[in-house]
Amino acid sequence: MENLLTVNNLSVSFSTELDEQQVVSDLSFSIKKGETLGLVGESGSGKSVTARSIMQLLSSNAYIHPESSITYEGTELLNLTQKELRSIRGKDISMIFQDPMTSLNPTMSIGKQIVEILRLHEKISKKDAERRTKEIMTDVGISNVDFRFTQYAHEFSGGMRQRMMIAMALACSPSIIIADEPTTALDVTIQAQILELLKDIQKKYGTAIILITHDFGVVANMCDRVMVMRHGELVESGETTEIFENPQHDYTKMLLNAIPNLYKDKTEKEKEKLKEIHSGERDALVRVSQLEKKFPYGRGETIKAVNNLNFDIYRGETLGLVGESGSGKTTTGRTLLRLHEASAGEIVYEGFDLNHLNKNELKSMRKHIQMIFQDPYASLNPRMKVIDLIGEALDTHGLVKNKKERTDRVLELLDLVGLDASFVERFPHEFSGGQRQRIGIARALAVNPEFIVLDEPLSSLDASIQAQIVELLESLQEKLKLTYLFIAHDLAMVKQISDRVAVMHEGRIVELADSEELFSNPIHPYTKKLLSAIPIPDPSIEAMKKNKKDTEEELQNYQGTEFKEVEPHHWVSC
């Protein structure tokens, strides 16, 4: 079969005021009709730039080198006039972007945005365009289309917005859809639905898809062939199964290794730990009972973000708290630190209720309980040097007597987290994401806490960096005898680092068990749904996964508010 789109020797540079930076170097690939090509790489690999180059949607300071060639159905796209290019965009080749909230015009109704593209490329009356739009909306799984047609982007949920983007991309029946990280911003269950939708579309319309992603699970699920990019260069490409089974290049091997292995066995030490917890030898550091947090919502109503939570965290363990956005996991973490005031319930730490502490006592508690945040860039004051970012914690609690002690301690902490001593005089923006997160960890450790709440600490990091930080956290836990509450939405990551895992849904814990037990024997239907939605980075398993029917009816049976120990050390809400 002929190639639909061929890219040859693509090189792209960006010119800033100071210099020119080459972001894509000598890239060549092609895609056939009906094929799904995956484009994988970490941040900075040049995959988004490549995608935008195809339709020449780059910013004005981008420069495509003259030796590059992009041909679509025989026509050289780089030689076309603007007018000719515009007739291809949206009609023959269309794009879906990562963040549907910002990618849709907030002040134009959704329906109008699709009608616009229809009337642009086809000679069609307004009424017909509206009708077609509603048909496409139904096709992509939107219900109640007459009403939804008039609504605006902010009135839709994340998954529905992405469906609308897909509808817009599909409207004129393109032969290629370029999807730039279409599911990265979505919850894992929604991600599964969107990927299913894309597969359906491909089956129905024979559309070729260029899928850009950093998630190998998605690749295994969707792609026929894969390209791996690094620093703007093609590192390796081939059939998906080949790449997974037989990666040739070291970088590919490294990326595949960095994926948290869902099936890795626990070490001996970890099994010992769980045994002690089960037998009661280890005591509980934190006991949460009937914790509730209400927020005002609309007019006069409240919503229970955290609803009757009961769980214990044992000394030295890592308890994983998993849930999708809106489940209440972040609120729980913050309430434990009294960053939110609980509406009801107890948080008993070392025998006393944290909710009863006054301001001074709470300040003392900050030496014992710390938090590590998700976005290391946003949580570090950009105007403070590293030595002050970490030193401030020492000053506040009076942990050092003079400047020399302060510096010594900061250097000690930097060494602990694997950072070079020369970093003390630098500012946050001079560091990479992984390094910043290490600074955040050093800061949390400065006061010698016993208990650390980690709120999605790895979500904004590349896969390879994630693996390193996980290693660091695990070694620190052992060395310093720390107890962790690890909050995340990435189940695979949680399984790797946690001893036990609790699954949250709509403010409640629906299941709590040892991590291995939870993954091999999920009982609550929501947990099952969550697990089945994870794209497994193993093409053979993904191929076997059949379309799971909605477990709505099953969910009904588990609506109760009792939290029962259904099996030894395995609690389920029912």
Binding site: R86, T102, I117, R299, G300
Partner: protein, 479 residues
Amino acid sequence: MVSKKNWIDRWTDNIQYHYKKAYQNKSWRMGLFIFGMLFQLIIFISYLIRQKKSGEKNIRDKMEKQFNESGRAEALRSQLENQEKQKIKFLNLNVSSSQNQRRVEKLYKEESNREISERVEAYYENDETGAQSYLQTTLDWLSTTGGLVLSLFLAWPMYLFLIVVSLPSLHYLIQRLLMMFFVIIGVTVIVFTLLYFSPSDPATNILGNQATPEQVENFRQLHGLNDSYFVQLGETIKGIFTFDLGNAYAGNERVVTTILRRFPITLKITLYALGLSVAVALPAGIYAAVKTNTTFDQLFMLIALLGISIPSFWQGLIFILTFSINLGWLPATYSSTNAMSLIMPTVVLGTGLMASVARMTRSSTLEVINEDYILTARAKGLSEAKVILRHAVPNALIPIITIIGLQFGGMLGGASVTEKVFSINGIGSYIVDKQFIPDIPSVMAGVIYIAIVLSIVNVFVDLLYSFLDPRIRSRVKNG
């Protein structure tokens, strides 16, 4: 017969629903009590009667007794004592035993009250003996036709209040009008106080140095200047509501009449200046944003800077010098009969506005152009012009329009400098002239006029904002 019943039922349900909602909000509940005092009194009596009949004197006391006797109170207390002990040990605190006692007591009170309240609530939910909460009694009364009619009769202000709080857009509007009211009162008090304590004496300023003490005294009597501060202030505020702020010290014309006479002129010039500025600034700003960092853009920024920096009196005088005296093209002063005399004041007044609107348009458009949805629009295959005009500009305009609205309100207050330069009988020059005497009623009238106009324009701009931006619309709709 049947249909009529349904209609009434639907209405009573509606009323009960909204009443209940309003009741649950603490501040609105107070409004319901205040506005429907007589009716609430009747309800209260009926509530007490019902309480007595069912034998349940006070649920809360009953629950408290239960709490104490069941042993829960003791358990709670010892639990709290225990926890305090642990805490003191862990945090290494230095606490005397009396401090400790007090702390435990305080915590006990909080926790026990909370638990008792929970029990009370639970009781009401499961209640079958007929003992009812106050709210329930009210709702029962409202569900009967007789009760409804009685409430309408006795407590119709309460219903007006209920309508206002239940309709979000009306609620929003009334909130803004209330704020406007307070702003006007506040402005009146402050300005009046400043004028009251001003060192210049209106009597001598108007009557001249030769005036005899009797004449001065007469003047003061006539205009109530001997009354106390509060009396005079009170008179002024009263005047706001009766639309009669008195007569000017000089000339003895009713100030309200003067203001109304001068208003159309100010309005005309303001509208023209606004129209001119917007017509020039918007396209220029958009174009500068699209062609950012080119020669046009640099030139544009320079001109805009000049426009903002040039003082209007200087500009006005230079214009008069050039166009009236040297070239003789345009008349130097304003006259209502000569349309040409409007040109220069309009341009002078509009220059500052033009420059700032143009700069804002440029930056707002620049911001919007870099948003993701513009990329989506381009990816759809739209021409650059359509992308800018259809997607970028409407979003960029939203903040700009609100600022234009506010500026407009400000200009309506009168552009004193421009009016002076071109001898225009507008409100701005009026206030300035009267200020020096100080002709208190005139100045007050002018200031109050400005306060009212600005407040109205502000409310209007807010409404406009929610009209243009669907995200704000949703927020207002959902409270």
